[in-house]
């Protein structure tokens, strides 16, 4: 096998240790005993699946759990999303969701928003249009859950 001449820098930034760690050891994986919303979202073009469960309490997203199957980007995005959002008031969850979506859409300002925490590691997806759906899959499930809660 010929030696690799090295991955492109933007891919090195994307497939960094943090993302691969969330892909291989997803946080908040599993199911809640009494979820207020349980959403399944699939990406029909690639078969990725996210099952997201949310428990609300007094306007706060008290707990998030997910189960899924898919690429490193979709699974790491879901894992980091649950980590960042758990315990946050609903308005803050909605704001962060907008910021994350803007970052994936290429908003450079959002990509430096410290409140997104580890999620900023996914900023590189912005330049891979074919992967936007992967990064946003869990967030679409979250939007469904919030809409269902009303």
């Amino acid at each position: 096998m010929p030696a690799s001449d090295g991955p492109a820098p933007h891919l090195q930034a994307l497939y960094q240790e943090l993302i691969l760690d969330h892909y291989r050891r997803p946080r908040n994986q599993g199911a809640l005993e009494h979820p207020d919303a349980a959403i399944e979202r699939r990406n029909p073009s690639c078969g990725d699946i996210i099952r997201l469960q949310v428990a609300f309490e007094d306007g706060v997203v008290r707990a998030l759990r997910f189960a899924g199957q898919g690429c490193a980007i979709s699974q790491a995005s879901a894992s980091m999303m649950t980590q960042v959002l758990q315990g946050k008031p609903r308005e803050e969850v909605e704001r962060l969701s907008r910021r994350f979506t803007a970052m994936i859409g290429g908003d450079a300002d959002a990509a430096t928003d410290r409140s997104l925490g580890d999620l900023r590691a996914l900023a590189g997806v912005a330049r891979l249009p074919s992967r936007h759906g992967c990064a946003l899959l869990a967030w679409k499930a979250l939007a469904d859950a919030l809409a269902r809660q009303g």
Binding site: M1, P2, S4, H10, L11, Y15, R24, C46, G47
Partner: protein
């Protein structure tokens, strides 16, 4: 190994020398001869065929009929009127399920498909079964991905109306014994429907000799334009079928209360036909025959052997399906815990185009135990350097994912 036909014959590949195109099973790049034929038709012979009382329309009609005869010869079809132009394999197979199937399949009847069918040859039958109250039976595969003929035989019975199967699997590349399966179906009194989308671009296909009732293929996978495909049917079965789309060209006479139908092939081709597509497909089969289909097969076999050997030597690579000599065109695989979409993105950064996903074959993916696979597919413009690029790209992916040893 050099390309069978150089990249200079394919304008897109010539304009993008960096591109390593390994997705021909999805669609093939176009030779200049095909693009020229389409342009020439629009510039010199373009009008609506069949209706014109003027010379130009007659020319357009002639071009369409010439294309039908030319494509029929390529497919080994003696009676060109039994070759129906469609939008592609998906439309061809839906045509059979909707026109023939609705008339011939009733409650309690059985429809047999295989576990390796593309959704285009699975879902129309599944939906027909649901609609008619028929039973869909799925023929399983052998361990290396071939249609299990013993299982198939055990599924055939007095209620079997149709056996729908692939000629070449779009995931595994396995080549089915079409003649034998058609004979098994016939012996059971069932109609045979063969999806030839992955076979027609790569193998010499003689539909009359295969003795299937229906054979479907897509133009765009065999160097022709998108939006044109064929359905070849046995005349007696086609003539017994009710029309599926109604409208212009397909009628004989329209009374206020009812209508009568035109003869084949027109009765199954309602509306203004895709003449430019047919002309392009005719140019594509001219091109393929000038190269020679046996040479195409031999070239791909060489590429498949080389690719199989080199991929199999990479730690963590799982190749799905049989050995290189038992397959045509495609190689599906997985690499360690690297998801095929991540692999495709990493390869794309090196201009290597592969397909990643379920390949419109979810029943097969479930049986492989993989949610998705990566698929590299080869055609006459590929050469050994494309395999080098694929292997180097996989090495990069392994490096990024921390699978050392490069």
């Amino acid at each position: 190994m050099t390309p069978l036909v150089g990249r200079e014959a394919f304008p897109l590949l010539a304009a993008h020398p960096e591109l390593v195109y390994l997705d021909s099973a999805a669609t093939a790049q176009k030779p200049r001869a095909v693009l020229d034929a389409i342009r020439e038709f629009y510039e010199h012979d373009y009008a609506n065929p069949h209706r014109g009382a003027y010379a130009l329309s007659v020319r357009a009609t002639d071009r369409y009929q010439d294309a039908r005869e030319r494509v029929a010869r390529f497919f080994g079809v003696a009676d060109p009127d039994t070759l129906i132009f469609t939008r592609g394999t998906t439309e061809s197979l839906n045509l059979v399920a909707l026109a023939w199937g609705r008339a011939a399949v009733g409650a309690g009847d059985e429809i047999v498909v295989t576990a390796a069918e593309h959704h285009a040859n699975f879902v129309p039958w599944q939906q027909l079964a649901l609609e008619r109250g028929a039973r869909l039976r799925v023929c399983e595969l052998t361990a290396d991905g071939h249609i299990d003929l013993d299982h198939l035989q055990s599924l055939l019975g007095a209620r079997t109306r149709v056996v729908a199967f692939h000629h070449v699997s779009n995931v595994l590349g396995t080549i089915a014994p079409v003649r034998e399966i058609a004979a098994m179906a016939r012996a059971a009194g069932a109609v045979s429907v063969c999806d030839g989308a992955q076979a027609a671009p790569h193998l010499r296909v003689d539909v009359d000799a295969l003795e299937v009732d229906f054979y479907a293929a897509s133009g765009h996978k065999m160097c022709g334009p998108m939006g044109i495909g064929v359905l070849v049917g046995r005349r007696a079965v086609l003539e017994a079928m009710p029309p599926w789309l109604t409208g212009g060209d397909m009628i004989e006479f329209v009374h206020d209360e009812h209508s009568t139908w035109n003869v084949l092939p027109h009765r199954l081709e309602a509306g203004t036909p895709n003449v430019a597509g047919a002309v392009g497909l005719a140019a594509a089969v001219d091109f393929l025959e000038s190269v020679d289909m046996d040479a195409v097969r031999a070239h791909e076999r060489g590429l498949l052997r080389a690719a199989y050997e080199r991929l199999a030597a990479i730690e963590g690579v799982r190749i799905h399906g049989p050995g290189a000599d038992e397959r045509s065109g495609v190689l599906s695989f997985g690499v360690a815990d690297i998801h095929p979409h991540d692999l495709a993105t990493i390869l794309d950064a090196r201009h290597v185009c592969i397909r990643a996903g379920h390949h419109c074959a979810q029943p097969l993916m479930r049986r492989l135990g993989e949610p998705a696979t990566a698929r590299a597919s080869f055609y006459l413009y590929n050469d050994a350097s494309d395999i080098d690029a694929l292997v180097a790209g996989i090495a990069t992916a392994r490096e990024l994912f921390g699978h050392a040893g490069v």
